[in-house]
Every structure is written in C-alpha cells, then in structure tokens.
Symmetry: C2
Subunit: 338 residues, 2 copies
C-alpha cells in the first residue's frame, strides 16, 4: 500500500481534482486590482439583503451554487459540504448548508478554514468515502468588524499594521475528472503562540505558525523552495509576510519572489487598507480566481497554499490572553500533461 | 475494493478502536446519578482558575491528557487532534491544542461536534492518513450561559423545556489495538430547519435532524432498530426525545426502551434542570464513562450514537432567524470476540 502520510503531511495516492470553483466579492474588492478576476460582484455590502449577516450568507450561497453549476453537479452528486467562516458558531456556513440538500461538516480554523476543508475533503475522497465534495468559506468586513472589534459607527482609528477583513466568498468542487489542477498533498499544522496580544496585529500572531508549516512541509516531503513556483499565504498581510520572510531566512530558506499573500494583494497598495486584507474569504476567492488560472495556463506548475488563522475571541482579548496562530497547507498542481 | 460509503454513511473497512477515553465533570454533574462514573471531578466551576473560560479550558485539557495517559501514547504518537466546543471561535479547543505539540483540526457542529470528530478521525485513519488520533469536546454551563443568553447574575427564569448546558469534557483516543470497542460506521447529517425560533427550546430544533439521521442510517445500511441495542442521542433533553419518538413512530419505527439521551440522563430527574442537560460535554463525558463500559461488559453490543446540534448565535436570535439543527452519527460496537 502506498505511504499516505509523511510526518504531518497527507500524501494523496489518488489526488482529487479541483473540478470547478467560484468566487464573489464585495464592492471594495471589486474595485481592487484583481476585481475583474472574480466571478460575481456585490454592488452593496448587504448584497441586497436587510443585514450584513444575511448579505454574507447570500454571498457564500452564491459561490457554492455557482461552483456546482460550473462543475455541472447537483446536490445529489455531492457527498458532503465542508464549510466555515469567521462568525460565531460559523453561522454563515451553517445557514448556507441549511439551503442545500447535502450533508454538512462544519469547520473552524479562522482564516485557515478553507485549506482545512480542502485537505479534509481530499483525504476523505482518497480514502474512498466520497467522489465529490464542496469546500467553501467566507468572510465579511462589516460582520467581522462589529463582532470582533467595535461597531463601525464608532469610527475607531487603527494602526497601520491592521488588516481589513475581506468581503468575499469562494467555493471549490472536488471530483475525479476535469478542472486542470489537483490537490496532491495536505499538511496539518499545530497551534503556535509566541505571545502576540494586540488583536490589530494578527499578521504577527500567524506568521510563526505559517513558517513552521512551511518548514514541516519541506521536511516531510524532503523538498525545498526550489520545488515550488509559489508559496501562497492567506492571509498574513503586509507586516505578516515580512515576519514570515525573516523567520524562514533564519532557517536558510529564501522565498525571494516566490511568496505571495492573498490579503496583501487583494486591495493593492492602497494605504487606507493598512497591512492589506485578511479573512478567510480572501484566500477562498483569490486562489480559485487568480492562482488556479495561472496553473492551468502553465505560468505556474506547483503552488503551496498556506492558510493562516489567528485564534482569538472577544472574550479572550478582554481576558488578556495572547493570540495563537494555526496554519494548514495544501499543494495544488497543474495536472500532468494538462 | 470494499465499498466504503453507502448513501450518507461511511463504512470503515478497518474500523479504528476507541483505545481509551477520559471524562471530567463539574460539581453539579458530579452530584448527579452518574457522578461516580466519570474519571475526574471539579469541585468548583472555575476548576481552580480565575475565570469560567479558563476553567473550561483546564477541564478539556485534563480530559485530553488523561485519555492519552490511559492509552499510553505521547504527543509524538498522535497524528492529530480533532476538537471543538460551544464557545465563539471554539476557543476552548484552540487553547487546549496550543498546549499540545500535535497538529489540530478545529470542528464545529454544536453538540454534534464530538461525533463529527469521531467520524472524521475514523475516516482519515481508515483512509491511511493516521494511526492514532484524539477527538475531544467540552461545554460549560457558566461560559455558555453568559455567551448565548444572559449573565447568570440576572437570575432569569426559564421555561420547563429549557435544557441546561452540562459542565464537562471528554476525550477519545482512536488507534488500532485494544480498548474493547471500535467505530464501524459514521453517518453524516444535513442541516434541517423546521422553523423553531425559541432559543430555550433547542430539543425541538434538533429532534427533526436526529430523526432524519436515524432514518438515513437505517436506510443506508438496510438495518432497523432490531439491529441496535441502544440509540444514544446527545443531547435532545426530555422534550427533544419525546419529539424524536413521535417523529420516528410516524415512520413506523418504535424505539421503545432502546432510546437514551445523554442530556436527559446526566442530571437524573431533578426538576431544577428543566428538560435536562445539553452541551457537547454531556455526550463527550457520558459515552466513554457510562456507555462504553456497558459495551465492554457485554451488556450492550452495538450502539448508534447520534450527536445533535442546534445552529444559532446571539446575532441570529436577535435577527429573528429560526434555529436549524444538525445531527451526525457513529456506530460503536463491542469488538468481535472481545
């Protein structure tokens, strides 16, 4: 039997394809440098609904439905959904699943949730338990801000290293044929805490977990940076990727121009967004709409997608807890001969 | 190759054993009719810490550590942890994982979270991705009450169908040898919403999902109630199991004396606990400490454990959303010849 785990890394013997994906973004993300890449655009942050929370739910539902349409699968074809988001009790994802006649597995690892869904879905497919799964995730600036920080109406001033939650959702249909790319490996990360306590500085809270995940992945597979065209993090922001670069340089790994961060990219260089975007919706929308086309076109051949999550709640911040980070990774590759 | 899925049910071709388990409960649960069954008892609800949240974290950590001790495994032996709880951002589980040098997969399906962990862990083991995993979950009356409802200091009066969150944690080590019982099947449930909107009546919100899960499980495996010694729900409470009984009778299934609910049992008949206990800690502690010994002794041979979760947040209640339920199931059986 093929070896299916090396250290913390799943090695899929039958790597599932990403058959189709769909993204939807809010108005500010639509105006950003990648705006035209995304499938769907909301012209208002409530997406035509009467609350931001209902708007986020609508966006996630639209992403799931469009990804299934693109893959030409119906609810009866999908073995289960894997979903999560940043709201308390992952209620966006719960409610998206309510409207689908498909079993649902709820996940939470903050902004690493999409990657957790992809690596679990691929593992259960490779294990023989499914032939088609849908992994999705979302985040929303207004719903996250009022839940985690202060109501927007207060007009609080933020430090320049603050990231801004991206209003976006993405959905991925995994199956056995088509799509042009597949998921070949998944690396599971540990929760790491280096003592960051500022809830506006999540990039610094997550960077150590991301560095550890990349080192572990390389070690497990006896690979190095030379074996990848891109290390794509989601979402460390501009200050987080600086710290990641330093942490890896200390271990002799020079990412040079092979590092990209979904959050740092999505709004471009505009100063009003501080250190850039955050939120699991950023990677959920960006990977499918920006990176997978580059794999299909042959511009990239092998990408390590590193989801990065900061583990905090409003209560832990008030109780003066530090903020640990977690990171999970998947390798997305162009199909051989594809 | 063996068929590993039938409908919504995983059929494990190499069923993992529950090698060891550990439970810890709070003071009121310790005084209940099953108090002596549990491994560890906290004499105060803060478990010696300076907040209820830190107390819940300590309880969950104690359960994880004791289960690993009982199984004689160290962190290096465990491929990953699967955990979740009821607090926002599953922060209890995140923080438990922070103190373990083991990869972590965060899960959320309310009070079905333990079962989600068991069925995913068993699936990934059977799929070749792990040889040892730990699934854990916790809940806590004081932390849940002040998060979901009102601060206890308000002294709100509750209706008699209200359930009381159980202060407890449980942890399960899955491996390939020993332990006396194994997990042979896992059935994934869909999110169901029949329009319940009272956040004190979660039993009614969850019962339809539980009924659907049981019917689906029987249909997938061409089995009936005659094939099980016990259907164990966690946690519908006393009003929820009445509704479940009616819903299944309508489909011609008479559970008669084969139905037990962890929440309805854990506090006994005492009126002050309304419809009984709820919270994922109830099933997490009860299954290992009360039911698995009955399987090992031969009193029971095959149990269908049905985790039941109510999907709500404080925001959805305020926004007048209804409360959907979700249910996942696993079959726990006495080892053949064991």
């Amino acid at each position: 039997m093929a070896v299916k785990k090396r250290g913390q890394t799943f090695v899929y013997s039958n790597p599932p394809h990403i058959v189709a994906h769909a993204s939807i973004v809010g108005p500010e993300e639509s105006r950003g440098p990648y705006g035209e890449y995304f499938d769907l655009h909301c012209s208002d942050t409530k997406c035509g609904k009467d609350s931001w929370e209902k708007g986020e739910e609508q966006m996630a539902a639209d992403a799931v439905n469009l990804s299934m349409d693109k893959a030409s699968v119906s609810a009866a074809d999908v073995d289960f959904l894997l979903g999560g988001d940043l709201l308390n009790q992952i209620i966006t994802s719960d409610f998206v699943a309510r409207d689908q006649d498909i079993p649902f597995l709820g996940l939470y690892s903050a902004c690493a949730t999409l990657v957790e869904g992809l690596l679990l879905g691929a593992g259960l497919m490779d294990g023989g338990f499914a032939d088609c799964v849908v992994a999705f995730a979302s985040s929303h600036y207004q719903t996250a801000e009022r839940q985690y920080r202060t109501p927007l109406e207060y007009g609080v001033q933020y430090p320049p290293y603050k990231q801004f939650t991206v209003t976006a959702a993405g959905s991925y249909v995994l199956g056995w044929t088509g799509g042009g790319v597949w998921i070949t490996h998944g690396t599971l990360g540990k929760v790491m805490d280096l003592g960051v306590s500022d809830p506006n500085d999540l990039g610094s809270a997550m960077a150590p977990a991301a560095a550890e995940l990349i080192l572990q992945h390389f070690s497990d597979l006896k690979r190095g940076i030379v074996d990848y065209d891109l290390i794509l993090t989601g979402d460390l922001g501009k200050s987080g990727i600086k710290m990641l670069t330093v942490l890896l340089e200390e271990k002799g790994i020079l990412l040079s121009d092979k590092l990209m961060d979904c959050g740092a990219e999505i709004f471009g260089g505009e100063k009003k967004y501080g250190a850039g975007g955050s939120g699991v919706g950023a990677s959920a929308a960006f990977v499918g709409s920006v990176i997978i086309p580059r794999l299909i076109s042959g511009e990239l051949e092998r990408v390590l997608l590193v989801g990065t999550g900061a583990l905090l709640s409003t209560i832990t911040v008030k109780q003066s807890e530090t903020i640990p980070g977690i990171s999970h990774g998947v390798v997305i590759e162009k199909l051989p001969g594809g």
